[in-house]
């Protein structure tokens, strides 16, 4: 069968939803389907600057990239103006500001879809927060094609899925794939037909995580103490990821547990630049910026637990990565993360906005390393059973077939 995947960015651009669509596309190609991807040439959604080549072939997936309108200070102001007034008034007149301010606004991609999408059996739209989903949806409907959508909605942030034009696309899609049960429940509340929504999640490509490094070797590679208890923060060092909250929890108990160390891995941001001076004298903090995949695996292998008190995760692929390495996780009790992490079984969940709770949970893991290992083992089992790329590809392929059947039943009648 021929599938068209439409997404805002595609690797080498970094991100959870980018990885999701790339892994899925490659897995479907391996099953004998033809998968083409329409995306932008951007690597950075802050600017939508065209950096990548217009055509690419990655592991059998043909990637067509289109330039989109650059996002500058004016565009950002337009977006903020639209969002501010939309939530205040719920008036449709502010939607164009959000649409134009959000992007990617790619006339080339829209035109290519209009000309060529008819040759595909089904269109899969990825990441509802961006506007390519909206014009992708309109064009697919005009061409009479079935549409599957993976919104990756941050359910605590309504602006990522509940603007008028986003809601119309969500309700009109032939099938919606939610990352978590909490996300599915939110879509049902919004009025999505229960037959047309499934929970799938994101899968890990196990081959990419194969390595022959044990914990001691990983620590040696990263110059970490062999007998320390290492807490890992892995992700962009931005405020909503809970980066400052994790550091605060660490600082609070560091004196009590001198063998405790904090490893922070991920791209630096303005937030982290502002925060670092406060912790420059705190002992045991190891900082790494943006790292290679090999170093990321080493960090995951070297740590004793992962801490990611993020308030805005659609799914939390990092939790899966830590679990795959047999490490327990600490997150926030948000709706999405609670659907993934089972408190006390394969990880721990702290109350949002309560750093003391996070501190207590971290102290609990530090004082009970055997419990940490047990949780990590359970998490690994969970990943192998439900969150591998093969499993997600099975599910998505099944959803495609169900959607096609349903669409044909509708058009036949």
């Amino acid at each position: 069968m021929r599938f068209l995947h439409v997404t805002h960015q595609y690797p080498p651009a970094i991100g959870g939803s980018e990885k999701y669509i790339a892994d899925l596309s490659e897995a479907l190609v391996a099953r004998g389907h033809q998968v083409d991807v329409f995306t932008t040439r951007a690597k950075d959604y802050h600017s939508w600057r065209a950096e990548l080549p217009p055509f690419d072939c990655q592991n059998g997936v043909t990637v067509y990239r289109f330039a989109s309108l650059r996002r500058g200070p004016m565009t950002w102001r337009m977006l903020h103006f639209g969002l501010r007034n939309y939530w205040r008034t719920r008036s449709r007149r502010y939607e164009p500001f959000i649409f134009l301010g959000g992007g990617p606004n790619s006339a080339g991609m829209a035109w290519a879809m209009w000309r060529r999408a008819g040759q595909y059996d089904l269109i899969h739209l990825n990441c509802l927060v961006y506007t390519h989903v909206v014009y992708g949806y309109r064009i697919a409907k005009r061409l009479g094609l079935p549409v599957v959508m993976t919104p990756h909605a941050h359910i605590e942030q309504e602006q990522t899925y509940n603007i008028g034009f986003q809601r119309a696309a969500l309700l009109g899609a032939d099938h919606v794939i939610a990352d978590t049960t909490a996300e599915r429940d939110r879509f049902l509340e919004l009025g999505v037909n229960p037959w047309q929504v499934s929970v799938s999640g994101v899968g890990l490509n196990l081959a990419a995580y194969r390595h022959d490094m044990d914990t001691a070797a990983a620590r040696k590679k990263l110059n970490l103490l062999p007998d320390a208890f290492i807490v890992l923060f892995l992700g962009r060092k931005v405020q909503y990821k809970g980066w400052d909250m994790a550091l605060e929890a660490y600082t609070a108990i560091r004196e009590q547990y001198p063998h405790l160390h904090f490893l922070a891995v991920g791209p630096e941001t303005d937030d982290s630049a502002r925060l670092w001076p406060r912790y420059q004298h705190t002992p045991g903090i190891h900082v790494m910026g943006k790292v290679s995949e090999a170093d990321k695996l080493a960090a995951l292998q070297a740590c004793d637990c992962l801490i990611l008190p993020s308030a805005g995760e659609a799914f939390g692929i990092v939790f899966l990565e830590a679990w795959l390495m047999g490490k327990p996780v600490i997150g926030l009790r948000t709706q999405a993360v609670s659907s993934l992490v089972q408190h006390g079984y394969d990880g721990l969940l702290a109350e949002p906005g309560n750093p003391a709770d996070l501190t207590a949970l971290l102290a609990h893991l530090v004082t009970n390393p055997h419990l940490a290992r047990q949780m990590g083992r359970r998490g690994r089992q969970k990943v192998l059973q439900h969150y591998t790329t093969a499993h997600i590809a099975n599910k998505t392929e099944a959803i495609y077939m169900q959607t096609l059947r349903r669409h044909r039943r509708k058009t036949d009648s």
């Binding site: 929970v199 108990i253 309560n354 077939m401 096609l404 059947r405």
Partner: protein, 249 residues
């Protein structure tokens, strides 16, 4: 009247089911392989390629007579899956990640006919949510996050971080210039051009600010110690009072 295409070898239960459809006047055909004949309903009684490849009709997997692990791998491709017991339903969801809404328990053929009928007419409601015991195995009791010790440790950590920032003066800063030959002159010039601002005005203000910051942190630490002492005394009092209170109640 429905046209039902049956795929795979039939067990006695399924033969009875087909007899019921025939008695109603439905058209029953059999099909094999990847391209079965066109029909409104494809009733798969075993895992076949047709489950994965059918692009028309409603695909129903009847896994009631023989629930094998292979069923799980194919079940997610079917529109509807029929199982005999709640345990089988739970297994399909937990072990194979199937959608609970698409798995129906049909204890007898009458119920199976009703489900298939509704599915073919698109009037079937999703199966009810699963009810199962939670797997919360918190093997050790968790610390009380609101206990005074945890809260105090939190504040102490923050105070330590603030204390380290109290000295806001850039004491290691030196005016430098990388310019060849005239570099030292530029350094001298810059130092002297700014000294009239720095010495009488900026330096005293910054020194006052540092003294103020340091004193403030010390005061806060003293207050924290007093508060910690009070909290511990309060805790002891509560412990002393509570049994008595319970006893009286």
């Amino acid at each position: 009247m429905m046209k039902i295409c049956v795929i795979g070898p039939q067990a006695p239960t399924q033969q009875q089911l087909l007899t019921m459809f025939r008695q109603r006047g439905d058209d029953i055909v059999t099909g094999e392989g990847e391209s079965p004949p066109p029909a409104g309903v494809y009733l798969c009684v075993a895992i076949t390629d047709a489950i994965k490849t059918a692009t028309r009709g409603v695909v129903i997997l009847d896994a009631r007579p023989d629930f094998a692990p292979a069923v799980g791998e194919g079940a997610m491709y079917a529109d509807i899956c029929l199982v005999a017991t709640d345990d089988d339903r739970l297994r399909l969801v937990d072990e194979f990640g199937c959608e609970p809404a698409r798995i129906f328990v049909a204890a007898d053929n009458h119920r199976a006919v009703e489900i298939i009928d509704r599915a073919a007419r698109d009037t079937l409601l999703p199966a009810p949510a699963l009810s199962r015991p939670q797997k919360t195995e918190s093997t050790l009791p968790l610390n009380d996050a609101h206990s005074p010790d945890v809260a105090l440790a939190q504040i102490r950590g923050r105070l330590r971080a603030i204390e380290q920032q109290a000295d806001v003066v850039l004491r290691h800063y030196r005016v430098r210039s990388g310019a060849p030959l005239v570099g030292r002159f530029i350094v001298w010039l810059r130092r002297n051009l700014t000294s009239h601002l720095r010495e009488p005005y900026l330096d005293p203000i910054l020194n006052k600010q540092v003294a103020f910051n340091t004193q403030l942190v010390q005061e806060l630490q003293t207050m924290l110690s007093v508060q910690a002492d009070l909290l511990h005394r309060l805790e002891k009092l509560e412990q002393a009072i509570l049994p008595d209170k319970n006893g009286r109640e």
